[in-house]
């Protein structure tokens, strides 16, 4: 770790090439400046200049903190990308893409580049809880990584079980040291659900056998920003699927600090890096929706941004895997596509080196960025109407149960009708019998 304390001095007074306005070199406390309005979805701030100033002074301060000199900054850029054979040009293209994905105006593009650079030096802890490491794998193992993935590979990870060099006691010492040394500054990313059953004993990690619950709580307390990556960390995901024997929950349920959720299975690297970059820019969480997801990535419903939507509207559906409709890329609604129930940006910031997403590949969405998707979005390959309804003691779809009730009601009404007919006939007969007689009995009954 080259993050000494003396860097502040060396970088003092340096003019940073990318900033287009002069900004103060005074080191101001970041925590003071996070209380400004930041709303990229509408109009960024009441006073855009002020927002820009805040961002610039933040970036300058961070560069002073994490880099030795301007040369160090430039070299870091080059090292990161030449190591992965990405040209500067490709990187600039990518920053432009990320800037627009974050819904920021182009004036922010150079700042996004600076933030991405700073990101590679920011202390970083990546915890794995109950999970399949799918997010880690997806970020680390791409054949042709995009800048987003490169940045994730290059961040100065202080603790990440799958890639760190130290092991055993050393590894844990490293984690504790980072927590202490970079209190309030380090980025904490958690992957996987946290089992809370049996006081967390369903998951113990490391040489000391601490529970995942303890570790997350302790690391979350002093983190600068807390990010839950993947559905499991965000909402419990598959470990928390019914009947959830381990009592697994999402990260936000075990800490009372704000958690930014980046759900999906696996999460899109662009969404993680974008959120981290935005955090570097503004020092706080971006705007979140009611489920804790960054609005810039999760404000659109897949169904509304799907290129097969035209076929949905036209009543053209795939009815069987591999049928003619499938070949013509008809809508997958009847093959169980959960796009109408799912908010994510897969159709825009695509997966696999920005190349594809489920509907393009011919399979419906399974709703992996929504809470409890394993319970609520199943069966994955059948339309929602084939899902079982959640009424205790009833194991049926809404239609089956509805038809059964309707049948029961019909039988009831028919029985009542027959009863009425028979009874009336009997009454009439009695009346005929009684006709002429003094009929006091009937009257008394009233």
């Amino acid at each position: 770790m080259g993050k000494g304390d003396e860097k502040n001095k060396t970088a003092k007074g340096k003019k940073i090439e990318n900033s287009d306005r002069a900004c103060s070199d005074e080191y101001d406390d970041k925590t003071d400046k996070t209380n400004f309005k930041w709303d990229p979805l509408r109009n960024i701030a009441d006073d855009p200049d002020e927002a820009l100033n805040i961002v610039d002074s933040r970036l300058t301060n961070l560069e002073k903190e994490y880099f030795k000199s301007q040369k160090d900054i430039d070299e870091n850029f080059n090292n990161v990308f030449s190591a992965s054979s990405i040209s500067r040009r490709e990187f600039i293209q990518w920053t432009a893409l990320l800037t627009s994905a974050l819904m920021l105006p182009t004036i922010f593009a150079p700042r996004v580049a600076r933030a991405a650079n700073i990101l590679t030096r920011t202390p970083f802890i990546w915890l794995d809880m109950s999970d399949c490491m799918g997010n880690t794998e997806a970020f680390l193992r791409t054949a042709h990584p995009t800048p987003a993935e490169i940045i994730l590979n290059y961040v100065s990870v202080d603790y990440m079980e799958s890639i760190m060099v130290p092991a055993g006691y050393q590894a844990e010492a490293r984690r504790d040291e980072t927590v202490k040394k970079y209190k309030g500054k380090y980025i904490l990313v958690v992957e996987g659900a946290i089992p809370t059953g049996m006081n967390g004993k369903f998951l113990t990690i490391g040489a000391k056998g601490k529970t995942g619950l303890e570790i997350t709580k302790a690391t979350a307390k002093n983190a600068g920003v807390i990010i839950a990556v993947g559905n499991c960390a965000s909402y419990g995901g598959i470990p928390a699927a019914y009947p959830n024997p381990t009592g697994s929950v999402g990260l936000s349920s075990v800490t009372n600090r704000q958690v930014i959720n980046i759900p999906a299975c696996p999460a899109n690297p662009v969404n993680l890096v974008g959120t981290l970059v935005e955090y570097i820019l503004i020092g706080k969480a971006p705007m979140l929706d009611s489920l804790g997801r960054p609005l810039w990535a999760y404000s659109g419903r897949l169904h509304d941004n799907c290129y097969r939507r035209g076929h949905f509207e036209a009543g053209e559906y795939v009815k069987q895997w591999g049928d003619d409709g499938a070949k013509k890329q008809y809508c997958l609604y009847m093959m169980g596509c959960k796009g109408p129930f799912t908010w994510n940006n897969c159709t825009v910031a695509q997966y696999n080196q920005d190349m594809s997403f489920p509907m393009r590949a011919g399979h419906g969405c399974i709703g992996c960025s929504e809470p409890a998707f394993w319970d609520r979005m199943t069966p994955f390959e059948k339309p929602n109407l084939d899902a079982k309804i959640f009424i205790p003691g009833v194991e049926a779809t809404a239609d089956e149960f509805g038809v059964a009730l309707f049948g029961a009601a019909g039988v009831g009404m028919a029985a009542h009708a027959i009863y009425t007919g028979v009874k009336r006939r009997k009454n009439n007969k009695e009346k005929e019998k009684n006709n002429g007689k003094d009929n006091d009995n009937n009257k008394d009954k009233k």
Partner: protein, 259 residues
């Protein structure tokens, strides 16, 4: 069998006013729009007509009976959803008109019969008993009988749930603003977001919407059955209420006719 002319003079057969013009308009608007909602809703849930079908798809019996050719010529789902939303607007307006009239109608406010206080509960049980014994018909009063009133109220609660779940699905495609301004989706979110928590996400909301559809279908059949039953058994012309606004009362003729 009693018969009007043979059992006393005409003035004994009282005419009872039951539905004002506005209520009748509401009734038939609801009728038409709910039938429309059921047909279009079922199509949205399971698109049984497939346009632009392909040869393989035509092999199955449920596949398209209509083939309109090119994609751009067929917008059947668009039309189904469009009509579903038009029906939804009619239902909303009717619902709130009904709600207003239930309390502030000068002629026949519903609350007089449905608020379950005092002898209302008792009268309700009397009516149920009458359904199963055909004896002791409760008197035809000035207002709706409490049993009907309570069932109609329950039905309107179903409509309210249908509106809440429906608008939750509707607001799903908004991203914070709309053609008429940001207040519209914001208002819908405030009014209907609770359904997400109660019914378990948007899929649960959709299933609830679908299930309530079945409850409404059951109500319709029960409702028509019981009104026809009353017309036959009571011979007071109950079925005429939503057409002419009146029914008859035979309570004065009771001595002769005790069906």
């Amino acid at each position: 069998m009693g018969n009007i002319n043979s059992s006393g003079n005409d003035s004994d057969l009282k005419v009872v006013h039951r539905m004002t013009v506005i209520k009748r308009i509401i009734h038939w608007t609801l009728f038409l729009s709910i039938i429309n909602q059921i047909i279009t809703g079922m199509y949205i849930a399971y698109p049984f007509l497939i346009f632009g079908k392909t040869p393989t798809q035509a092999d199955s019996p449920v596949s398209g009976v209509l083939n309109s050719g090119e994609t751009y010529q067929a917008f059947i789902m668009t039309w189904m959803r469009e009509f579903h939303f038009i029906g939804a607007v009619l239902i909303d307006v009717s619902f709130f008109a009904w709600l207003y009239l239930a309390f502030f109608s000068t002629k026949e406010p519903l609350y007089k019969s449905f608020l379950p206080f005092g002898n209302k509960i008792n009268e309700m049980y009397k009516m149920i008993k009458h359904y199963f014994t055909l004896k002791n018909k409760p008197e035809t009063g000035k207002y709706q009988d409490p049993l009907n009133a309570i069932i109609f109220t329950f039905f309107h609660l179903l409509l309210l749930l249908q509106m809440a779940t429906g608008f939750q699905m509707y607001v799903a495609s908004f991203t914070g603003t709309s053609a008429v301004g940001a207040w519209w989706p914001a208002m819908l979110h405030i009014c209907t977001d609770w359904t997400l928590w109660v019914f378990g996400g948007l899929t649960g909301v959709t299933l609830t919407h679908l299930f309530i559809t079945w409850l409404i279908i059951i109500f319709i059949f029960y409702h028509i059955y019981i009104e026809v039953w009353r017309s036959i058994v009571w011979k007071e012309g109950d079925i005429l209420i939503p057409f002419g606004g009146y029914k008859y009362s035979r309570d004065n003729l009771k001595e002769d006719d005790t069906d």
